[in-house]
């Protein structure tokens, strides 16, 4: 039996070891990426689309915003600021609901935004938290795609109703009204029409929770069309908790219906409002019932009420007044006469999706728009934006080679922008520059000139902006012959060349090339699309309400890429699934999509990434979600597209849009999917999800900045997210993973001597993006977390002198330790107050240093170089003078500290001995050495030797420059004063110590003491 125990023990140890296996295949991203952490730079000033707003039923300070692509945000301060609470999950939100009986703890989040524009994201189910958002559990509806409403019975928390709008791009049976009677464990579908009709809105009678109203909507989108409305759209009522449903259409328009909104007046539940999309324009608009839906009367069909029902159909009634009604819309509309007449809400970003009233005061409202959350304090007349919601929705990003580099990109309904990747005090709203109107898409910087290209939807305008002279013109290609119709994607592709700086490409159905920055154009391809006429009837798009915004334009080129290795190799991908390549600058083209195995026909080619290692090699990413196919597709060719192989593994979740190849290690690839970022270090065999401060947000575009190795992501819901310096990933392999500690190479680090006056003036409630560090970073991999025993890290010079002590990272995975290349601050004499100059830590000179890690009995060393900015005006001699001056003052400061320590010790001794004469002398001397009265603020006393010395030390040490003549003169004055003080003290000390014995620490011991 004992033997058996032993065997079992061995067995289980074996299993444990297996679980810890260190290989690229087995290791989890969370155990690998360690301190490699994403940082967010926003922008937040234009924010992004909001889908649903929610208030707490009893605490007016708490407000939630469910965003279209940036997760769930919570405010604890009445809407002044918000924090994200749903980062680990799908960021596209349909509905947020608090359990009215437990609103602090129990919250439901239905994913998948419900205002079904072309660029809408998808959800992946219903989530629940019972601890206020710290932990979430998915409780079903995996295939729902979009959840429109969640309602908890106010009298019974176990009873939950869910309105599922469902799939947009195809048939689905996971639609309609569902109910749970056990708090969300099991669900019953109560109202279902057909695979094309979902629940667009759901409302409950707060006075009788058995009464429900559900609006059902027949709708469908394809890549080239949208259809709203049909025979199946209807408004239903149930009076038995959802068991049976009846249409309530008495007074409704005849014929087909589209999207309907429904609202119950909380103060009088007999009063209902619905907004109806109908066949005839004059019958569209707002209807009211005063008898709980038995009959309806049409009240208003103004533009603000009928505009784009698929995008705006929310009706909200003031909880205190049944006659105050607000309707979402292009501007948002408010009625104070029961819905008869409306006026626009105050100036704010257009496209209003949801409105909530404060529970305390109906003058206060929170409004969700395409450009963030707005607050009003005066009943909707004046609107102010929430400034810390960085939920901007990028379609693309690009970078330049400035230092720090800038990031460029276009935003859904928010124009085009560029801003710095780092900025003094952080990347603030004021750092961003607007560079285009309308919906923004692609923005590119001219490779050598101060020129930026940007565009708006469908290449209606393509701007060329001279940012130095503030000169702007439009340069989009125009029809070159009568009858030539150019088909532009809504998100029209543009590209520049690394070979010819003035070259500029654009894609309609043809590839257009300009060699003069867009002034003249040449078409260098035939129609590269399928040119399928069935997908070109956009003027018929919209269903009951025509909606030809250009967003459905199809059979167009979507991505263009010229090889960096050969300017004659150009790749083109189309939205209808072609992958075309030319090897002769456009004379001949080959459509290679037929060579791609396992790819459904006509799947949207979203991105092509030509390799930097070989001109026949490229990656192509396909997105099938507009054909109701959410599989990720990415392929690699090494022979100009003759053959393609998939580089996707089962690890990848969410359809993919973009891939980025590393510039050094061809096996290191980055993949952006609808649910986040994935990284492979073995050419696509295994992908790891990156989750360090990286939400599960849709990544639309990825750039790798060559000089810094920063990975820059354009996300569709969380702005620009950057992972600084991904270079450690280049050397991750199975061998490294098994080492106890592996140092990654530290590139030469420039000592930063720049400084600026940055205070975050007025940014208290603003989002401020974090900066890239200027410190030197020591990076290493640990194969196990260090938990027991000592682990320390010091920086030494090459002679082994300790310069600094640092706190090493202990995580399993990649650890990053920052050092700001300074020594310790000097030991400063003790006075009554602080000597602020003494808080300056002196910078070390450029040179070679080593980081030494001691872990248990083992020691690990890594050398690295600090270098000066090559543009610094200082000569080597200047540097030497600066260093010796700083260190002379540093040493003097410490000597003075020791002198004052000795003085204090003798003073104390003398005082306790009643030697008043010595004590008086010492006190008199001390008063000239350090401040002995006052405080650290406006009660400060006259500065003494300590302060003068430390201030000069700090002045020299914090300057970029060599010491000035004035500083050197001042130094001699102080040095002389110090010498005199030393002599004065020595006299008193020698005399006293002849008579008395005083215990004194040595200078070195003193430096080590507190």
């Amino acid at each position: 039996m004992k033997k058996l125990h032993f065997m079992l023990a061995v067995l289980s140890v074996g299993f444990v070891t297996l679980g810890h296996a260190q290989s690229l295949e087995a290791i989890d991203g969370k155990a690998l990426f360690g301190d490699l952490t994403a940082r967010h730079i926003g922008p937040a000033l234009m924010s992004g689309r909001i889908n649903d707003m929610e208030v707490h039923p009893s605490n007016s300070r708490i407000i939630y915003a469910g965003t279209a692509g940036g997760g769930v945000w919570k405010s604890n301060d009445g809407g002044a600021t918000f924090n994200p609470i749903f980062d680990d999950y799908c960021q596209s939100i349909g509905a947020v609901e608090l359990d009215p009986n437990d609103p602090d703890k129990t919250i439901y989040v239905g994913t998948g935004e419900t205002w079904t524009r072309n660029s809408v994201s998808v959800g992946d189910g219903l989530y629940k938290t019972t601890d206020g958002g710290a932990n979430w559990t998915k409780i079903g509806f995996d295939k729902s795609e979009r959840i429109a409403n969640i309602i908890v019975n106010p009298n019974n928390s176990q009873e939950i109703y869910v309105g599922v709008l469902g799939a947009l791009w195809g048939d689905s049976e996971e639609r309609g009204v569902y109910k749970s009677t056990d708090g969300g464990t099991t669900w019953e579908r109560l109202l279902y029409i057909d695979p094309k009709t979902g629940c667009a809105d759901l409302a409950i009678d707060p006075s009788d929770p058995n009464i429900l109203y559900a609006s059902m909507w027949e709708f469908r989108r394809t890549g080239w069309s949208f259809e709203s409305g049909g025979e199946k759209s209807a408004l239903y009522k149930s009076t038995d908790g959802g068991k049976t449903w009846n249409k309530i259409h008495n007074g409704f328009p005849e014929g087909k219906l589209g999207r309907l909104g429904i609202a119950v007046a909380p103060s009088n539940p007999k009063v209902l409002y619905t907004v109806i999309e109908a066949e005839k324009d004059e019958r569209k608009g707002l209807y009211r019932s005063n008898d709980a839906g038995a009959s309806w009367e049409q009240l208003n069909n103004d533009f603000g009420i009928t505009v784009r029902p698929f995008y705006f159909s929310r009706i909200v009634v003031d909880p205190k007044n049944e006659d105050v009604v607000v309707k979402g819309g292009l501007s948002g509309s408010i009625s104070r006469d029961g819905g008869k007449t409306f006026k626009d809400l105050g100036n704010m970003h257009s496209d209003i999706h949801d409105i909530v009233f404060s529970i305390k005061d109906s003058d206060i409202m929170y409004v969700g728009t395409d450009g963030g959350v707005y607050r009003t304090w005066d009943g909707g007349t004046t609107m102010e934006i929430v400034e810390n919601l960085p939920i901007s929705q990028f379609y693309q990003v690009s970078v330049d080679d400035a230092e720090p580099y800038n990031v460029y990109g276009g935003l859904q309904d928010n124009g085009s922008w560029w801003g710095p990747s780092s900025s003094p005090g952080g990347v603030e709203a004021r750092d961003w520059n607007s560079i285009g109107a309308g919906d923004g898409f692609r923005v590119l910087k001219h490779p050598t000139k101060p020129i930026i290209y940007s565009e708006m939807q469908g290449a209606e305008n393509v701007w060329r902006i001279d940012t130095e002279r503030q000169l702007t013109k439009t340069i989009q290609p125009l029809p070159a012959s009568e009858g030539q119709k150019l088909r532009w994607n809504w998100n029209a592709p543009m590209a520049i060349s690394t070979h010819q700086p003035d070259r500029f490409y654009m894609g309609s159905q043809y590839l257009h090339k300009s060699e003069d920055m867009g002034d003249t154009w040449e078409i260098i391809s035939p129609d590269l699309t399928t040119n399928d006429p069935a997908k070109q009837n956009q003027e018929d798009s919209g269903g009951l309400s025509m909606d030809n915004s250009g967003a459905e334009n199809h059979t167009t080129i979507f991505t263009i890429a010229e090889s960096t290795l050969d300017e004659n190799v150009i790749w083109v991908g189309t939205d209808d699934g072609n992958v075309q390549v030319t090897q002769d600058g456009g004379k001949t083209w080959a459509n290679t999509v037929g060579n791609i195995p396992g790819l459904p026909k006509n799947t949207w080619c979203y991105h092509i990434e030509p390799s930097v290692f070989d001109k026949g090699t490229a990656y192509a990413v396909f997105d099938g979600h507009t054909m109701n196919d959410k599989t990720p597709y990415a392929y690699k060719t090494t022979d100009f597209g003759k053959t393609w192989t998939s580089v996707i593994s089962d690890d990848v979740v969410g359809f993919a849009r973009n891939i980025q190849e590393d510039y050094v290690n061809p096996d290191l690839l980055f993949l952006g999917t609808e649910f986040g970022l994935y990284i492979t270090m073995d050419g696509g065999k295994n992908w790891k999800k990156f989750t360090n401060n990286m939400p599960s947000v849709a990544v639309h575009f990825i750039e790798l900045h060559k000089k810094t190795n920063d990975l820059v992501m354009g996300t569709h819901g969380r702005g620009v997210i950057i992972i600084d310096d991904i270079s450690p990933l280049r050397s991750i392999n199975n061998e490294v993973l098994t080492k106890t500690l592996h140092f990654f190479d530290t590139p030469d680090t420039e000592i930063s001597e720049t400084s600026s006056f940055s205070g975050n003036f007025g940014a208290e409630t603003q989002f401020v993006g974090s900066n890239k560090t200027k410190d030197v970073q020591i990076k290493y991999y640990l194969n196990k977390r260090h938990t027991f025993g000592k682990m320390t890290m010091v920086i030494e010079d090459m002679d082994g002198n300790q310069i600094a002590e640092l706190g090493p990272g202990k995580s399993k995975g990649i650890n990053i330790v920052n050092w700001n290349y300074t020594r310790k601050t000097p030991k400063v004499a003790k006075g009554k107050t602080f000597s602020f100059g003494g808080f300056t830590a002196p910078q070390v000179p450029a040179g070679t240093y080593k980081a030494v890690i001691t872990k248990g009995k083992e020691t690990f060393e890594q050398t690295f170089n600090l270098v000066y900015d090559k543009n610094s005006p200082l000569t080597e001699k200047d540097r030497e003078l600066k260093e010796t001056t700083i260190m002379r003052l540093y040493d003097m400061t410490q000597e003075l500290a020791y002198l004052v320590y000795e003085l204090d010790a003798i003073l104390e001794h003398a005082s306790s001995n009643g030697d008043k004469k010595t004590a008086d002398k010492l006190n008199a001397l001390k008063e000239t050495l350090v401040i002995t009265t006052g405080d650290n603020y406006v009660g400060s006393a006259e500065p003494q030797l300590r302060e003068r010395m430390a201030d000069l030390y700090s002045k020299v040490a914090t300057s970029y420059d060599k010491p000035s003549g004035a500083e050197l003169n001042n130094l001699e004055v102080i040095a002389e004063r110090f010498n005199n003080a030393k002599m004065d003290f020595a006299k008193i000390k020698d005399k006293y110590l002849k008579k008395q014995e005083v215990q004194l620490m040595s200078f070195d011991d003193f430096l080590e003491s507190n």
Binding site: L4, H786, T792, A897, D935, Y937
Partner: protein, 254 residues
């Protein structure tokens, strides 16, 4: 044949063990057992930690006192001047103002919230049931690259800006050795309110039979963290009561 069956059954049982659900109490039991035994923990009367933090080259020495009766104090030494922060004498919570270096009382709400934690020495989990706390195992989570048990601790409700709020923190116990390696909680007030604070613990070492972390980091989850190095820990230290007392207004000496 019978033996074989038993063997197979036993192996199956053994294989099931690692995935068998641990209860929160078992994890806590293991934690105290592995770090010195619950009795040793309970016998502690006080602790003095000598520590240092490094702020941009400035090494700041700290002395942190925690006593069983709830009294606490952190002494910071700047340029030889001692500054006290977070001093609690059993009644009053006070700190030195950095400008005037005079003692000032914390506001009533903060003091009341602080008092709620004075029964948590040496560890909030000891006697948690008697204190009316609840503990819940939420499952496993990877922290610092390591698999941990995530345990939720709910203590007495706090009052924040006049409103009652639950005092919730999440402890992450290393599955291999059952010591906590991280604690997370929501920041309730101040400029970082709404963000998640994270403290990590490592370098566990023994002091008179009990294991304590000698290295900690403090920061916001996914943000920069400030390392704190503990130089030494003294158990049951002697300390003058007067050190904790709120000082009377001193008159400037001439």
């Amino acid at each position: 044949m019978k033996t074989l069956k038993i063997t197979i059954a036993l192996i199956a049982f053994a294989l099931a063990l690692p995935i068998q659900a641990q209860t929160a109490d078992e994890i806590l039991e293991n934690y105290f057992e592995n770090t010195g035994g619950l009795d040793a923990w309970k016998n502690l009367k006080g602790m003095k930690m000598t520590a240092k933090v490094n702020q941009g080259g400035m090494e700041i020495p700290l002395e942190i006192y925690n006593l069983k009766d709830g009294r606490q104090m952190t002494k910071i030494t700047f340029q030889g001047k001692e500054i006290k922060q977070g001093v609690y004498d059993g009644e009053t919570l006070w700190s030195h103002n950095f400008m005037t270096m005079k003692a000032e009382k914390s506001d009533a709400e903060q003091t009341a919230n602080f008092k709620l934690n004075t029964n948590d020495f040496p560890d909030a989990f000891i006697g948690y049931k008697e204190k009316g706390y609840t503990v819940e195992l939420l499952g496993k989570e990877t922290i610092d690259g390591t698999e941990t048990f995530k345990i939720k601790l709910v203590k007495e409700p706090l009052t924040i800006d006049g409103n009652p709020q639950d005092d919730i923190s999440y402890y992450f116990f290393d599955v291999d050795n059952f010591v906590p390696i991280a604690v997370q909680s929501e920041i309730k007030s101040g400029p970082a309110k709404g963000q998640i604070s994270e403290v990590t613990m490592s370098d566990y070492q023994e002091v008179d039979g009990i294991y304590f972390p000698f290295s900690m980091t403090q920061g916001v989850k996914d943000g920069q963290a400030q390392p704190i190095t503990i130089v030494s820990i003294e158990l049951n230290p002697t300390i003058d009561d007067a050190e904790f007392a709120f000082p009377k207004e001193e008159t400037e000496k001439e």
